[in-house]
Symmetry: C2
Subunit: 197 residues, 2 copies
């Protein structure tokens, strides 16, 4: 007789989640079976529903249950600002700052080695959006990595072609950080980006 | 219009797993939606099936799809040995050592403060098992915590009443450990438990 195959199957299936290895998957499976079968059933339902019903916003490409997401649909947003980010998680992060403009989500960054080119980032869709004339300023909020910087440069060229203002979020010393422990690259950006006080 | 409720629902549902906080849940939800919808659907199915079909073995109380688990049913195990552990995960851990006896899973430990008494650990079922006469030796492999030790003492009294041999797994310096970094409690157990060399 084989080992309990459903349990092994569950442990294996749990590993599809990022950051969950074999040991964590085992711990989660046992814990759910022992303590929280209802929670696990709810999770199964939520997963199934989300995977089937969540698509992408036709305007900003973020996750949305509707063809246009609630942010793009909202009348209370400043439609002259467009913040370009790499992922829907970045939208959440920027939302927490109180930013009131709209977004455009690339769902990745330029990465020729992985075969990710401009067409994969929906840049044609971005051009269509810019051509509509609502946008006055594009804020580039891609990650400060090599790929994120390259993507920002690429997009800034597109935006300039539309004669719109293009800005990049500031790089420098994070709030609460200590200069002593900041890497020299960041510190050099902080100094070159200094502002009148 | 509210924020995408399915996504929020998924993030909330993911938090039923131990060790998954809000940030991890968000990361997992985004990752699954972006990269692995099929994996997530499979996970939902595995969760549902496991929660509905995995019950407990009627003999050793571990997780099992059948009324008696494959270990208790196996003819190749040494039925004179019974290893008492706290959880099904401990069964896995002991299995990896090559142990060939049977198990009894308490599904917890004595903890009067949490209202967990002998009846919650299936100790009546253990007595029935011991009364069947197959068992010659009971190995107490509860965790070396205060509750685990108390549970071991409690069970050892039961086993002695059946005039069977009762043993406790050794406590001491873990293999590959360095004496310098071992806590004094463990080291004192290692010294008092020293064996002829």
């Amino acid at each position: 007789m084989p080992t309990p195959s459903l349990l092994d199957g569950l442990i294996e299936a749990l590993r599809c989640m990022p950051g969950i290895g074999r040991k964590s998957a085992q711990r989660i499976a046992y814990q759910l079976l022992e303590r929280n079968r209802d929670g696990a059933r709810k999770l199964a339902g939520a997963l199934m529903q989300a995977m089937d019903q969540i698509g992408y916003c036709g305007r900003c490409r973020t996750f949305s249950e509707t063809s246009i997401c609630h942010l793009c649909n909202s009348q209370s947003r400043d439609r002259s600002l467009l913040c370009v980010v790499e992922s829907p998680a970045d939208v959440c992060a920027v939302e927490e700052t109180g930013y009131k403009g709209l977004y455009f989500v690339l769902m990745g960054h330029l990465s020729p080695l992985d075969g990710i080119g401009p067409e994969d980032l929906g840049l044609e869709q971005l051009e269509t959006l810019l051509a509509q004339g609502e946008t006055k300023e594009v804020i580039l909020a891609t990650n400060p990595t090599v790929e994120g910087e390259a993507t920002a440069h690429f997009i800034s060229d597109i935006v300039r072609r539309h004669a719109l203002q293009v800005t990049r979020i500031a790089h420098g010393v994070p709030m609460g950080g200590e200069l002593e422990y900041i890497d020299s690259n960041t510190l050099s950006r902080a100094i070159s980006g200094r502002r009148a006080f």
